[in-house]
């Protein structure tokens, strides 16, 4: 029964994620694409919950479902198009693009089906994900953690300067 609930949740969330991702790339109106992108991020957050990554699910909803979706919506609104109905056109290489994506999916899927992934290391019952993440982030990965903080600060300042111009900002 538990397996059945897990499978039902997986297929529901996976269908929602894939369908809204398909909406992002196939819809003609870019505003609809932006909304579909937010829906797809929420579906991915649900999948993180299924994978015992509850902290990352919260981060996904906050950062992607909130910040990135809003940023992209603002980007769409600030770069106004005359005709919104046809605001997300394909370029002239769309046939090659679909061929490359389909071939990549086929090759990766074939490789995945043929591989037997064996668990490594000792399989202990995980503690709460936040505690394990915190001790890794502030222990083994503290230098990378601090660099990521600096990267975010630099990206923030850089984005303001790029968007406003160095004189005004």
């Amino acid at each position: 029964m538990n397996d059945f609930i897990f499978a039902a949740a997986f297929y529901g969330l996976a269908g929602m994620t894939i369908l809204s991702a398909a909406g992002v790339v196939f819809l003609k109106d870019i505003v609809h694409s932006a909304l579909m992108l937010a829906l797809s991020f929420i579906g991915v957050a649900g999948l993180y919950v299924l994978l015992n990554a509850d902290f990352l699910a919260a981060v996904q909803i906050l950062v992607y479902g909130g910040a990135v979706a809003i940023l992209i919506a603002f980007g769409v609104m600030l770069t106004r198009r005359r005709n919104m109905k046809e605001s997300n056109p394909n370029n002239r290489w769309v046939i090659y693009a679909s061929f490359v994506s389909a071939a990549f999916f086929a090759i990766c899927g074939w490789a995945l089906m043929g591989t037997d992934f064996k668990p490594v290391g000792q399989q202990v019952n995980p503690e709460a994900a936040v505690e394990g993440l915190a001790s890794l982030l502030l222990g083994d990965y503290v230098v990378a953690f601090e660099s990521a903080a600096v990267l975010l600060l630099v990206a923030l300042v850089g984005a303001i300067i790029l968007a406003k111009g160095a004189k005004e900002a």
């Binding site: 992002v24 790339v25 994978l51 990352l56 370029n91 394990g132 890794l136 923030l156 984005a159």
Partner: protein, 103 residues
């Protein structure tokens, strides 16, 4: 049928390929950024699925996806600022118009 690692990896591959299609086939720079975001999400799904099914008990995969999220947030902020700066200059977000370096 139980859901295993392969299901999550196939889902990640499908999401990655949709993002790749958007990245390669779109004319609007913002639509291209959306494709990149989809691809980064697919990578995160893969990392976390491997963390659960292959290396249970460690959190290295989740730590890596935290860094992927950080870099993706920085990337989308700078990318959209670039798009806005180009739009102010050219009144266009069509990447086919951005050919100043071509001669």
């Amino acid at each position: 049928m139980t859901i295993g690692l392969t299901h999550f990896l196939l889902l990640g591959t499908a999401l990655f390929c949709l993002g790749l299609y958007g990245l390669l086939s779109k004319r609007n720079a913002i639509a291209i950024l959306m494709g990149i975001e989809l691809m980064l999400n697919a990578v995160n799904i893969n990392l976390i699925a491997f963390n659960k099914y292959v290396a249970a008990g460690s959190y290295t995969g989740q730590v890596f996806s935290v860094f992927v999220i950080v870099v993706a947030a920085a990337e989308v902020a700078v990318g959209l600022a670039l798009v806005l700066a180009i739009y102010k200059d050219r009144l266009s977000t069509n990447v086919d118009d951005l050919d100043w370096l071509k001669w």
